[in-house]
Symmetry: C2
Subunit: 137 residues, 2 copies
């Protein structure tokens, strides 16, 4: 990620490094608020705007995947920055990456059927996770 930013002409600031670190280490698909909170332990003056701006650059460079939601804050995946299915628990907000084969074939079939050129894919499933189910929904 650092190399990618440098190559694109962006400057490497301590704030950015801290944000990259959180993104690279988080397996839980955090939202901007969550990233800001974690980085804030080291940089209490960090602005939300800085997190948004840095993520936007990483997104443009293809280093981070943005999971868009309406109603709730977008979530970010710095570990697998390419389109893949997600399952979200509507009870606790947890997001997991299920094993699903042939997701690209899906898009290819679709492109053939509709004549669209497909740029990106969104395969999301919403439900209740095993932990929340056990707690009685």
């Amino acid at each position: 990620m650092i190399a990618s930013l440098r190559k694109a002409g962006y400057r490497i600031t301590p704030q950015r490094l801290a944000i990259l670190k959180v993104l690279a280490e988080s397996a839980d698909h955090p939202d901007v608020g969550g990233i800001h909170r974690k980085v804030g332990r080291q940089y209490p003056a960090m602005s939300l705007a800085t997190v948004y701006k840095t993520i936007s650059q990483l997104k443009d460079l293809g280093q981070v995947l943005e999971l868009e939601f309406s109603g709730i804050a977008n979530r970010y995946d710095g570990k697998k920055p390419y389109a893949h299915p997600h399952v979200l628990c509507e009870c606790c907000g947890k997001i997991v990456d299920p094993e699903v084969p042939n997701t690209e074939k899906f898009a290819a079939d679709l492109s053939r059927a509709t004549g669209f050129r497909i740029h990106s894919t969104r395969l999301d499933f919403f439900g209740t996770c095993p932990t929340c189910l056990r707690k009685g929904k």
Copy 2:
């Protein structure tokens, strides 16, 4: 839709009828602004809030499918109010329903693999439609 509202104890007002009419007749997955604009030809005083409230009720009754997007307004489908794949043109905003088989099987496999109980599904594809491609992207 009318019967469904009445059965649920909601009143049938002229404003609601006009909104239902637009939803039932629109094949282009309109957003709230678009619905409001169309209904406004007959009811210039119609409030956006009324459109939002009516759609929310229809959503609860399962009579309308809400397509959530972040960044752009949500779109609504009153013709096929159950989860199905969509392809959206990022250039002109057009949404089409492609033919894709076995989408329920997808969710079933996933439920087995993750232990989640799946409530709803989101299969969206983003790209450029043939018309916009022809116009040179």
